[in-house]
């Protein structure tokens, strides 16, 4: 006797999943940046559409949060080739040890001191590149993916802040959230990415023209 769990329903949520034109635009724009980022985006949407899956919001949140990380890696904002923290520290230790004997003399040569400082400087610079602060990473991601010819710094602050805020919201939703709240955050996230990757340039220009034509606000 077949039960409800024996077979999938005739049309599963997975089969009915499709992207809106706006989402398709974003998917294509993401693919141009990183095929993996586009896959994470579509994967997140797909799992979100599976309303029977009780973990769908958590899985979708994970996908969206990782999407930002993937963009950071794909655009060279963070460097994953550095190996583990342990191996990096061991590497530094080896280089420093090689010099330490030369420095443990009453008057160590300036050249050896300079070399030691160079090793330390290189280590810290590399660490910063491997693991930048969240804020710096957000700013670098925005700068790296923005299609604008203008300096992203002109508005990068607000855009980077927004990216940071939305990534934080996805993280927070790993511990539970409502579907409507998730959809609101997702819509904001998509708008931000579209602004960066495929902005509505000429529609915006038309609106700007219209609003400016009304003149400056009265004091």
């Amino acid at each position: 006797m077949a039960t409800a769990d024996s077979y999938p329903p005739p049309e599963s949520a997975r089969e009915s999943f499709s992207l809106t034109p706006r989402q398709e635009s974003l998917r294509e724009a993401l693919a141009a940046q990183s095929a993996e980022a586009a896959r994470l985006y579509v994967g997140g949407l797909r799992v979100l559409a599976d309303q029977d899956n009780p973990t769908s919001l958590r899985l979708a949140s994970t996908a969206m949060r990782e999407l930002t990380d993937e963009l950071a890696v794909a655009r060279g904002v963070v460097d994953l080739r550095g190996g583990s923290v342990k191996s990096r520290i061991n590497n530094l230790r080896e280089r420093v040890n090689g010099l330490s004997a030369l420095l443990r003399v009453p008057t160590p040569s300036a050249q050896h001191v300079a070399k030691m400082l160079d090793h330390l400087d290189e280590f810290f610079r590399r660490e910063e590149q491997i693991n930048p602060s969240r804020k710096k990473k957000a700013r670098l991601v925005v700068a790296a993916i923005s299609v604008s010819a203008e300096s992203p710094d002109l508005v990068a602050g607000p855009q980077a802040d927004r990216l940071l805020e939305l990534s934080g919201a996805f993280s927070a939703m790993l511990h539970g959230s409502s579907r409507s709240r998730f959809e609101q955050v997702l819509a904001d996230f998509e708008s931000l990415l579209l602004d960066l990757l495929t902005p509505d340039t000429f529609e915006d220009y038309a609106t700007i023209d219209e609003l400016i034509s009304k003149g400056p606000p009265r004091a």
Partner: protein
């Protein structure tokens, strides 16, 4: 709190960087927005300097700040408000923001302009970054302030811009002044400043510029007080002898021009101001001013000319000489006599030296001094001068202590027309009598005459061919020139009688080689080697098919010449060790034996043409066969250049005698490691100069295998010819597509792919596309193999090499013969991997072909090309083509095509390409 519409507007402005720029541009010159923008923080953060680092160093970019551009535009309408905002700006190193501040200040009343100038002076004197156009704008502000009686601030600006400081010059022991500006900027700034100073302060303003010149000299002057200006500035006036555009030159020019301009009103004051400065350059400047305005200062001019120190100071000579030349006629009779007496007597030092050398020195000085006033001399002085001219020759720029001249190319004693008007006999008579000058400097030479003779003979060979024997016994240069002219005539298909040129060639070949070394002589051939090489080339030309080809009866005489040239000592082994700049194939065309061996092959093909169906391969040309075999013996001829000849002609040799080549393949392309140099010479010549042929591969497949094994890890730099490794890739792609070599199984192709560098793999894909770009009527199985080969490549390329290798798929997209649907699918898949296709213009061209049948896919590719464009100039130069694709995609009515076209247009707009906006408005609303 702004009203909802303003809030919406400001939010939109901040949405993207391109929106922000557009917003500020659209505010035009309306200052009414200043308050709300200030309240909302739009003026709080100037655009920062962008700093990027790569392997080549650190790069700085100074972006425009739309907010400061706007403030500069409205500065004249709300000066106080704008000044307050600009004075309150946080410090920035972005020079473009500072340019806007200057622009704003120039439109403000004095008080505010002066305060902004004060702020900018503080920034300018402490900033060491690039200045772009800032310095010129700052000077303009200084001029505005000067005109509005803010003289102190103006001079402070000029002083800062033209500041000079001690700087080491690594290439010289001499210290040079350092400047904040480049030499060009410094000159331009000085040229702007002096007219303003003159306008405002009259001749006294000259002190400022002259003071800068004195400072420049002080920073580099030797301790003995000599500024050496006669070396770095030979003439105060603009003159070709002046060496450059240094800061010194900029300041000398500015001081000179300002002095002359001021002298129109008050020449005495100008001389007085210049006299306040000590460096010798100022004495020269005074002499120069007197030269120009001396008619208004006759007394000062006479005193200066009659000052013995001026006459005798070598550092002043040029300006003194020019003054003397210009103003001698202005002197009274007594004064002129006194001056001539000074010249005749010479200096006290000169007069004291009674030796022969002393007399010679006195005479030469007198000669140069008199030369500048030669037209005014008469009587005894005239006679003295004329005697000196006989002794030293016509004067050559006596107004300079040393004059530099340049020599360009050989020249001829006869023009081309003069040669044409002579008969060959008359020309030979001229050659018998004419001897080139032996003096240094420009003069006619045999080489120059020979070049014109070649031109004349090339145009009308018959008279010279008929009279060729008249050249027997003449200089090798002329004989070579005649033979070269005949060769060019034959190349152009101009007929002539070969008999006497061949007799002349025989005589040349019989000439004993000169024992003189082959010294470098730009004026004539010092031996017969160049003439012999010309004969080898001439014979080759006569053996080619064409109007000027040899007649069949010439076989014996042609071969007798050719066989001797084929044993010519050039190239000698010693000359082939260093192949810098010349590969063996190129060398073979530039040495006698190499050129002769080319002609040996041509000889065989000439016989083939003569005999037609009776031709039996090389057996029909036993003389050439024996010669070819002899030179394949490395013990007899180890020249790579000669071996390259076999490579260049290999496919033809196979065509005319496949069996002979089969018997000698491993002689032509030896595999032993100690003969690698000969293999490389023959192989590279073959692969570069020959396209692949199905009939050739079986005979030399071993050579392809070896060439793959020996593929260099580091590809050679591109020389004059194509790169052999790239040509090998092209051959293998062709053979693979023609099913001559399998790529599905181990073998030649796979070995090649494993050894190929990333660049070579990229070249392989590009060539696959180029092969089919314009091909038509391609057999179905060939197209199928091309598809399969691409699929094989895309599967077998390493992950990290995918972008570089597969980007060249753009060339495949252009292949009309391949299936469009397949091409578009592949292209989209690559683009969705983030791989931007090369070359952009090829992709645009292909999309114009595919957009009507496949609008959505074509628009998708266009959009992704723009989106993946790393340099953001993908569309530049192809705007019209891209417009066509966009319009057709939208006009197709396919919603997917429309969406993608719109995305593309918006991305282009965000990148500043607003030229497509009309399409968005027309089609998309």
């Amino acid at each position: 709190m702004p009203d909802p519409e303003t809030s919406k507007l400001l939010a939109l402005a901040r949405r993207t960087p391109s929106n922000l720029r557009y917003f500020f541009e659209r505010l035009d010159d309306d200052p009414g927005w200043i308050d709300i923008l200030e309240r909302e923080g739009f003026f709080a953060s100037p655009a920062a300097v962008e700093r990027t680092e790569d392997d080549e160093g650190t790069w700085l970019r100074f972006p425009d700040w739309p907010a400061s551009r706007y403030l500069a535009r409205v500065a004249s309408l709300a000066p106080e408000r704008v000044a307050q905002l600009l004075l309150a700006l946080p410090d920035t190193h972005n020079v473009r923001v500072h340019e806007d501040i200057i622009e704003a200040a120039q439109q403000m009343p004095n008080e505010w302009a002066d305060r902004l100038a004060e702020r900018e002076l503080a920034w300018f004197t402490t900033n060491s970054g690039p200045l772009l156009n800032y310095a010129f704008r700052f000077v303009d502000l200084g001029i505005s302030l000067l005109e509005s009686e803010r003289e102190e601030r103006a001079l402070a600006i000029f002083d800062a811009v033209l500041t000079l400081y001690p700087a080491e010059n690594p290439s010289s022991s001499r210290q040079r002044p350092g400047t904040r500006l480049s030499e060009w900027e410094y000159r331009e700034a000085a040229e702007k400043i002096w007219p303003a100073l003159l306008e405002h302060e009259g001749p006294d303003g000259l002190r400022f510029i002259a003071g800068k010149l004195q400072r420049a000299v002080d920073l580099s002057m030797r301790e003995d007080g000599h500024d050496l200006s006669y070396l770095w500035r030979k003439a105060i006036e603009d003159h070709a002898q002046n060496l450059g555009d240094s800061v010194f030159d900029a300041l000398v020019n500015a001081t000179r021009d300002m002095a002359l301009a001021a002298a129109t009103d008050d020449p005495e004051r100008v001389l007085q101001v210049l006299g306040e400065f000590e460096a010798p350059i100022f004495a020269r400047l005074r002499l120069h001013v007197l030269r120009v305005v001396g008619d208004r200062l006759p007394r000062a001019t006479a005193e200066t000319l009659l000052n013995r120190e001026n006459l005798e100071d070598p550092e002043l000579w040029h300006e003194y000489a020019e003054l003397l030349r210009a103003r001698f006629s202005q002197l009274g009779i007594e004064q002129a006599a006194r001056l001539l007496r000074m010249i005749r007597e010479g200096t006290a030092d000169e007069a004291a030296d009674e030796t022969e050398r002393g007399e010679a020195l006195r005479a030469y000085r007198r000669y140069t001094r008199l030369a500048v006033i030669a037209e005014h001399l008469d009587g005894e002085m005239r006679a003295d001068y004329e005697a000196l001219v006989v002794r030293y020759g016509p004067p050559d720029h006596p107004e300079f202590l040393a004059h530099t001249s340049t020599w360009t190319g050989p020249t001829s004693p006869l023009s081309g027309e003069e040669i044409r008007l002579r008969t060959p006999a008359e020309l030979v008579e001229f050659l018998n009598d004419w001897e080139p000058e032996q003096t240094p400097g420009p003069h006619s030479s045999p080489e120059g005459l020979g070049r014109l003779l070649t031109e004349v003979v090339a145009g009308a060979p018959e008279p010279y061919a008929t009279e060729a024997l008249r050249f027997i016994g003449r200089d090798p240069t002329y004989v070579r020139a005649l033979l070269g002219g005949l060769e060019q005539a034959a190349k152009a298909g101009r007929r002539f009688d070969w008999q006497r040129p061949l007799e002349l060639a025989k005589w040349v070949i019989e000439q004993p080689e000169s024992e003189r070394p082959d010294q470098l002589n730009m004026e004539r051939d010092t031996n017969w080697r160049w003439a012999r090489k010309e004969i080898a080339r001439l014979l080759g030309r006569g053996l080619e098919a064409g109007a000027a080809s040899f007649a069949a009866e010439s076989r014996e005489v042609v071969w007798s010449l050719l066989s001797r040239l084929a044993e010519d000592p050039e190239p000698a082994p010693a000359t082939e060790h260093d192949e810098n700049g010349m590969d063996p194939a190129t060398r073979s065309l530039n040495v006698t034996r190499g050129e002769a061996m080319h002609s040996v092959v041509r000889f065989a093909m000439w016989v083939e043409r003569l005999e037609g169906d009776a031709f039996q391969g090389l057996a029909s040309v036993p003389e050439a066969q024996a010669c070819l075999e002899r030179h394949l013996d490395p013990d007899r001829d180890s020249s790579p250049a000669v071996r390259a000849v076999y490579g260049m002609w290999l496919a033809q040799l196979i065509r005319i005698d496949e069996h002979w080549v089969a018997d000698h393949t491993r002689d032509i392309l030896p595999t032993a490691i100690d003969e690698a140099r000969l293999f490389a010479a023959a192989w590279n010549a073959y692969v570069v100069f020959t396209r692949p042929w199905l009939g050739v591969l079986p005979l030399i497949e071993h050579a392809y295998v070896l060439a793959v094994e020996r593929l260099p890890e580091e590809p050679p730099e591109r020389g004059l010819t194509d790169r052999p490794d790239e040509k090998l890739a092209e051959h293998l792609v062709w053979y693979a597509v023609m099913s001559a070599i399998p790529f599905e199984e181990p073998g030649l192709w796979r070995d090649y792919w494993e050894r190929a560098s990333p660049h070579l793999r990229e070249h392989t894909v590009e060539h696959l596309g180029r092969m089919f770009r314009d091909a038509t009527d391609v057999p179905e199985e060939v197209l199928e193999r091309a598809h399969q080969l691409w699929t094989w490549i895309s599967v077998h390329v390493e992950e990290k090499q995918r972008p570089q290798t597969l980007a060249a798929f753009g060339w495949l997209l252009s292949a009309k013969a391949l299936d469009d649907e397949w091409l578009l699918t592949q292209a989209l898949e690559l683009l969705e991997e983030g791989i931007h296709l090369d070359a952009d213009f090829i992709v645009w061209e292909a999309l114009t072909r595919t957009v009507e049948p496949y609008p959505a896919a074509s628009a998708g590719i266009l959009r992704m090309m723009i989106q993946t464009d790393p340099n953001r100039w993908s569309v530049s130069g192809s705007e019209e083509t891209v417009r066509q694709i966009l319009e057709k995609a939208i006009a197709s009515g396919d919603p997917e095509a429309g969406r993608r076209a719109k995305d593309a247009i918006n991305v282009l707009g965000a990148r500043g390409m607003h030229g497509f906006r009309d399409i968005a408005e027309r089609f998309l609303g």
